[in-house]
Symmetry: C2
Subunit: 126 residues, 2 copies
DNA sequence: AAGGTGTACTATCTGACATAGTACACCTAT
DNA sequence: ATAGGTGTACTATGTCAGATAGTACACCTT
């Protein structure tokens, strides 16, 4: 269900957060659906329970999920909305990247084509 | 000449590398021009000489600069070409980012507009 | 009562990053 | 020849984030 690379420069808990966020955005994890328990996910991914909890805690603080002690963690009602609003910050990263590529002399058309292709594939798969 | 943020998540030596690469790509550091000495740059930026040398060593290995012991470090002849070729890997990052934004429901037009704006500004400034 | 759940806490380990200090070989200018 | 600049190499130390290990508590369900 999850792909974790312990050798990545990106921390494990961040990898977990991003993949959970994508599951929410794609609708594979609808509102009020239960997340894997800290311990079960810990066993499945061979990751320390504390690392899982760190990811869940972060998502909880940001309102993406809510936790019921003794029961489990669940996807919040407006999780997708929060994520969509937050995703717009990635537009800044896109601009920064485009600026670097422009500086390197990569023609604008190449970027446009790449994006267009991505959006076409996304449209087909959904 | 350089802007270093010691508190950034990005290592200081990487910040230095990126800024040097941009100076090469913009032509502000032409081929065979001499780079600041390890010790002078160390004093100017209040950074340990070892950190500067780590950045220079990395650039040397990749063929961006060449060092002459006892003399100094200089920009390689084909530095800009190497960087341009290497920059295309950033297109992968761009695609990944576009895929995330597509997933979040950000319309394709917003990305296109952002990129177009970046390229227009770049065109003006150069 | 047993076993699952989230949560909290301390302790420890690891690796990357950065600093500090020293030393060597080389070249240039005086 | 001397002094001072250059790159380079090396060891030691400090710092911090990330991850692990272990324990413990409160809660709920069965």
């Amino acid at each position: 269900m999850f792909r974790i690379d312990p050798l990545s420069r990106q921390p494990v808990y961040e990898q977990l957060i991003e993949q959970l966020e994508k599951l929410v955005l794609t609708g594979l994890l609808p509102a009020d659906s239960q997340l894997p328990s800290v311990r079960s996910l810990s066993l499945e991914l061979s990751i320390n329970p504390n690392t899982i909890q760190k990811a869940y805690s972060d998502l909880d603080v940001r309102g993406i999920i809510y936790s019921v002690p003794g029961i489990g963690c669940f996807v919040a009602k407006n999780a997708a909305e929060i994520l969509q609003a937050h995703m717009r910050r990635k537009l800044d990263q896109l601009r920064q990247l485009a600026d670097d590529l422009a500086l390197a002399g990569i023609p604008e058309e190449e970027l446009i084509d790449s994006i267009h292709t991505v959006y076409q594939e996304r449209g087909v798969h959904l």
